[in-house]
């Protein structure tokens, strides 16, 4: 029976393993060359040595970590708040909330980025809202620190729907008997949420945090559309730097090497997170 199950899963697994594996192999192969697709020269590990002194790449890595530090807490707090509140209501209301929050996920990244460009413009919605409370216009996309926050806010608002579905599903799967038992014992609504539900959904929260970390490091389309990595590379993510290395500077071998380095960094971070989780348990 088990063997039959493995056999049935094998085609799909094979498909999902083959293409990333093949792509990783090809990228690894390309990383050993210096190429602009017109002239190609084998350079061995020289591209990896170049990465060590590539200030732009490490700045982009640091930006990725900063984005994670902003996006993960912002997203998790929003997710937990919205999903815990929504869980008190009927399935109909939950579905309506899911639908409303999920709409931006369905939208084209280009269109959403252009909407946010208008929001962040000098005479845009954000500065208008600030003017209502007597605050001056802010350079949402022209100040390095503020621009990172602006991109993070756009990321959270656009992709919250995708994670909300995971979170709500996790909350709904909490055994109702536990909640009822807690209520019978005199627990308030907030105590039920934080003492019963939260510990049970903690693994889901951890999963969302890990996925958000990976997404932050791999973010490209929002940065490309909103800031083009500027000002002066201040908002560039590792994937954006890889894109520029390849398509702006025409250094495809170096870009391939950077891709592999990023993959290793993310894998190490996820492994470290899993270890900490296991130790915590």
């Amino acid at each position: 029976m088990k063997r039959m199950a493995h056999l049935l899963v094998l085609p799909a697994m094979g498909f999902f393993l083959l293409f990333p594996a093949a792509a990783t192999y090809l990228v690894g192969h390309l990383s050993l060359f210096k190429t602009d697709y017109v002239t190609t020269q084998f350079v061995g590990v020289l591209n990896y040595v170049t990465i060590l002194s590539d200030v732009r790449f490490w700045r982009a890595m640091a930006n990725g970590l900063i984005y994670s530090a902003m996006i993960v807490p912002m997203m998790l707090v929003s997710l937990v708040t919205v999903s815990l509140l929504a869980s008190d209501f009927s399935t109909r209301v939950q579905n309506a909330v899911k639908f409303a929050v999920y709409i931006p996920v369905l939208g084209s990244g280009v269109i959403i980025a252009n909407v946010w460009k208008w929001i962040y413009a000098k005479e845009g919605l954000a500065n208008w809202l600030l003017s209502l409370v007597g605050m001056g216009p802010l350079p949402w996309l022209n100040d390095i620190v503020l621009a990172k926050f602006s991109v993070s806010l756009m990321f959270v608002s656009t992709l919250m729907g995708a994670y909300l579905i995971i979170m709500l599903a996790s909350i709904i799967s909490v055994p109702k008997q536990l909640i009822e038992a807690a209520r019978i014992d005199g627990a308030s609504g907030i105590q039920v949420k934080f003492r019963i539900i939260m510990p049970i959904i903690a693994p889901t929260v951890a999963l969302c945090a890990m996925l958000l970390f990976i997404s932050s490091m791999q973010m490209w389309e929002f940065v490309f559309q909103l800031t083009s990595g500027g000002p002066a590379g201040g908002t560039a993510t590792p994937v954006f730097d890889i894109y520029e290395t390849a398509f702006t500077y025409g250094r495809y071998g170096l870009a391939s090497a950077k891709s592999l380095v990023l993959m290793v960094v993310i894998l190490l971070a996820v492994w470290a997170q899993k270890r900490i989780e296991r130790i915590g348990r």
Binding site: D36, Y37, V38, T39, R56, P139, L141, N142, I144, T227, S228, G230, P231, A232, G233, G234, A246, F247, T248, Y249, G250, Y252
Partner: protein, 435 residues
């Protein structure tokens, strides 16, 4: 029995029906891929009698009728100014047969391994101006052919100068430029003397002529083995940029502006002096039609020059068509013929009119000899010559990408002008050395 019958039917189907599709494949006409940067719209008021929407579509149709070879046209993505479109096709294993684009991007592919020597395929190479054809020739091989050449000089918004109370001087110098800038800042709020932008590599047509204006050069004449830009004159140029930004003579945050945004601001009548091609002045018409700008008077002049320096040359360079060399001689012949159609006299004339550019073929004549803007730009080129930025060197597209991020860091105060040029020199010399 039933299974055997089904199996036999399947085999018969495979044997009898499927080969019919392969027969169709054998008779399929040859198809070429054309990667094209831009289109030549018809001149204003012109209606093509055969109903074609643009000149390239008409020429491709003529080529297809003549040869029976089909053409799949793809447009170059110009958003980053890089060679991304071409590289992506090459990486996918489907390099275009003919690639037509700005010489600075095409020059990367002009090597004997990639490009077809067009000498055996073009019977009228002597119709091209020798100096222009020379830019597409390497070691005696004609590795590309030119479409019309574009020219860039400074456009002056006369209405802003009139409003500022600035009178045109006898000699157009940097000091006069700064004088005009201060008057504009004082008397015409909301308008700027000039514009700087460094968000993408297409900003080079704005900053490159300024180096010439201060007597700095990217390369020594004819020597593209190293850059010579890191000099006191080069540093003076960057300090001038800092002055423009610091004094508010240009729109703020140049690191966040790109060429499209700059052109929009000019078309809205906000910029007094800007480097442009004749073709770009059509943006004013679009702005007026969309209701975001008003007509204003403008004309072309040279860039100002620093005291003691010669008058500043214009920038210029051709658009080139390169043909991918294959082992299929029939394909090579067809691709070369397509390149001929796309660089012929008809295209040179119409493109010169719609783009305000300069034909590369002698037989195309001077179609814009009566156009005042074209004549103004032509006068700058004839009098002052052309800047040498190494546009047709194989490394231009890689070198081009080095300055704009450094300029951005300078505008943000992270680098000094000296550090910008030191880093630029190091990066460029590394590229030029092939390391």
């Amino acid at each position: 029995m039933k299974h055997t019958r089904n199996l036999v039917a399947l085999v018969l189907f495979a044997v009898l029906v499927l080969p019919a599709f392969s027969e169709g494949q054998k008779d399929k006409p040859m198809q070429l891929t054309l990667l094209y940067g831009g289109t030549s719209k018809w001149p204003d008021g012109y209606k093509d009698t055969e109903g074609y929407p643009d000149l390239e579509t008409k020429l491709i149709a003529k080529f297809q009728n003549e040869t029976g070879v089909l053409v799949n046209r793809k447009l170059v993505d110009l958003s980053t100014g890089s060679t991304m479109s071409m590289d992506a096709l090459i990486a996918a294993g489907i390099p275009p047969d003919v690639y037509v684009d700005f010489a600075g991007r095409v020059s990367k592919y002009m090597n004997a391994d990639f490009a077809l020597d067009l000498k055996p395929y073009f019977k009228d190479l002597d119709d091209f101006f020798p100096s222009v054809l020379a830019t597409a020739t390497r070691n005696g091989k004609v590795l590309a052919v030119p479409q019309p050449s574009w020219g860039v000089a400074m456009v002056v918004n006369e209405d802003i100068l009139d409003a500022a109370g600035y009178k045109w001087p006898a000699e157009w110098t940097i000091d006069e430029y700064l004088k005009a800038a201060e008057l504009i800042k004082k008397n015409v709020p909301g308008k700027f003397a000039g514009i700087l932008f460094s968000k993408n590599q297409s900003s080079d047509q704005q900053w490159m002529p300024w180096f010439y204006a201060f007597g700095a050069r990217v390369y020594a004449p004819g020597d593209y083995s190293k850059t010579i830009i890191n000099t006191p004159n080069g540093i003076a140029t960057l300090k001038f940029f800092q002055t423009l930004v610091g004094n508010g003579y240009v729109p703020p945050n140049p690191e966040a502006l790109d060429d499209d945004m700059a052109l929009e601001l000019w078309a809205q009548g906000k910029i007094a002096f800007m480097a442009m091609q004749v073709a770009h002045t059509q943006a004013l018409k679009s702005a007026v039609q969309q209701g975001v700008g008003k007509e204003f008077k403008f004309h072309f002049v040279e860039f100002p020059h620093a005291k003691g320096e010669k008058p500043t040359p214009a920038s210029a360079g051709p658009t080139l068509a390169v043909v991918h060399k294959t082992s299929d001689e029939a394909r090579n012949r067809a691709s070369a013929r397509l390149a001929w159609w796309l660089t012929g006299a008809e295209l040179q004339k119409v493109s010169a009119i719609t783009q305000g550019s300069f034909p590369s073929r002698i037989s195309a004549g001077k179609p814009l000899a009566n156009d005042p803007l074209w004549m103004q730009l032509a006068t700058v080129i004839e009098k002052n010559g052309v800047c040498d930025f190494g546009i047709t060197t194989p490394t231009f597209s890689a070198v081009r990408a080095q300055m704009f991020p450094l300029l951005s860091e300078m505008y943000l105060g992270k680098l000094t002008p000296e550090q910008v040029l030191q880093q630029y020199e190091a990066n460029v010399n590394k590229i030029l050395s092939g390391k």
